[in-house]
């Protein structure tokens, strides 16, 4: 029952997240690329981040102190602290991909939900990239 409630919550939160992206205009790659345009700067992305951080900062802070979720499950918070080559290298690759098309994973799935032509190329490629990472990761020798 608890698990079902969690799955239902996840679905509703997914909808909320997607509607947030749509209202913010961030499901439009042209607006995202506008943020990186020095000739006709579109500051939307900065305000979206500001709005998100204003809600998420206090919310995540208080939840972090609870130690259990509101449905009495564990809170799975990342505890890695290392800033290493994997973190920075991965972020460089992601940044290049994001700068090329103006699409990051969340908006990609929203665009796919709209059956947007370009997302039908982007999302399978993204999933392939993720699967490739998983495949290489499982073959990596563990120290």
């Amino acid at each position: 029952m608890k698990n079902r409630l969690q799955i239902l919550s996840a679905a509703m939160v997914g909808v909320l997240f997607g509607i947030g992206l749509l209202i913010a205009g961030m499901a439009d790659p042209a607006k995202v690329l506008g943020f990186f345009d020095t000739e006709r700067w579109d500051p939307t992305l900065a305000f979206v981040m500001l709005g998100a951080l204003a809600v998420a900062s206090p919310g995540l802070f208080f939840l972090g102190r609870l130690r259990r979720s509101l449905l009495n499950g564990p809170l799975r918070l990342p505890d890695t602290r290392r800033i290493d080559r994997r973190l920075l290298g991965g972020s460089v690759l992601f940044g290049i991909g994001w700068g090329l098309a103006g699409i990051c994973p969340g908006p990609a799935l929203v665009l796919l939900g709209r059956a947007q032509d370009q997302a039908m190329l982007f999302v399978p490629a993204m999933l392939f990239g993720m699967a490739l990472f998983q495949w290489l990761e499982q073959r990596r020798p563990r120290p």
Binding site: G18, G59, R76
Partner: protein, 139 residues
């Protein structure tokens, strides 16, 4: 830097951002998970028992959002001018890079930065600068 006033609307930007922030709080509060899209989707590549359903539900919700949104408000058309080869390249880089770097705009940029994680601050600064440089080199 000249601002494009026609493109910019800060109230929907703030409101949409606040909803994204609320979604991040609710996912942690209800499911105990960080709302990082790349992590949620990537976790489906090698699914653990009992750990796949909530991920699929979240992704389904995200994909249903345009349909639900369009019943309340007109949904504006999007304009992607990126060519096919470029889209595939970008998708591959975004997929692989976000998994290697353990997060994307949502996981590092919203959740990690909110928690003042130095790791996420470093990742966010890195992908923002790289995206800026890439977008401008293409122009």
């Amino acid at each position: 830097m000249p601002v494009d006033p026609s493109a910019f609307s800060f109230i929907p930007a703030l409101a949409g951002g606040a909803l994204i922030g609320a979604a991040a709080v609710l996912l942690l509060g209800l499911c105990g998970r960080i709302a990082g899209i790349s992590g949620i989707v990537g976790g489906l590549m090698a699914p653990q028992r009992g750990d796949a359903a909530w991920r699929i539900a979240f992704v389904a919700g995200l994909m249903l959002a345009p349909l639900i949104y369009s019943t309340f408000a007109p949904i504006s058309p999007v304009s992607v001018q990126t060519g096919h080869g470029m889209l595939v390249t970008a998708g591959l880089l975004v997929g692989f890079g976000t998994r290697l770097g353990s997060g994307c705009t949502s996981g590092h940029g919203v959740c990690g930065v909110s928690r003042l994680s130095r790791r996420s601050l470093a990742a966010t600064a890195t992908f923002m600068v790289t995206a800026f440089l890439t977008a401008n080199m293409l122009r």
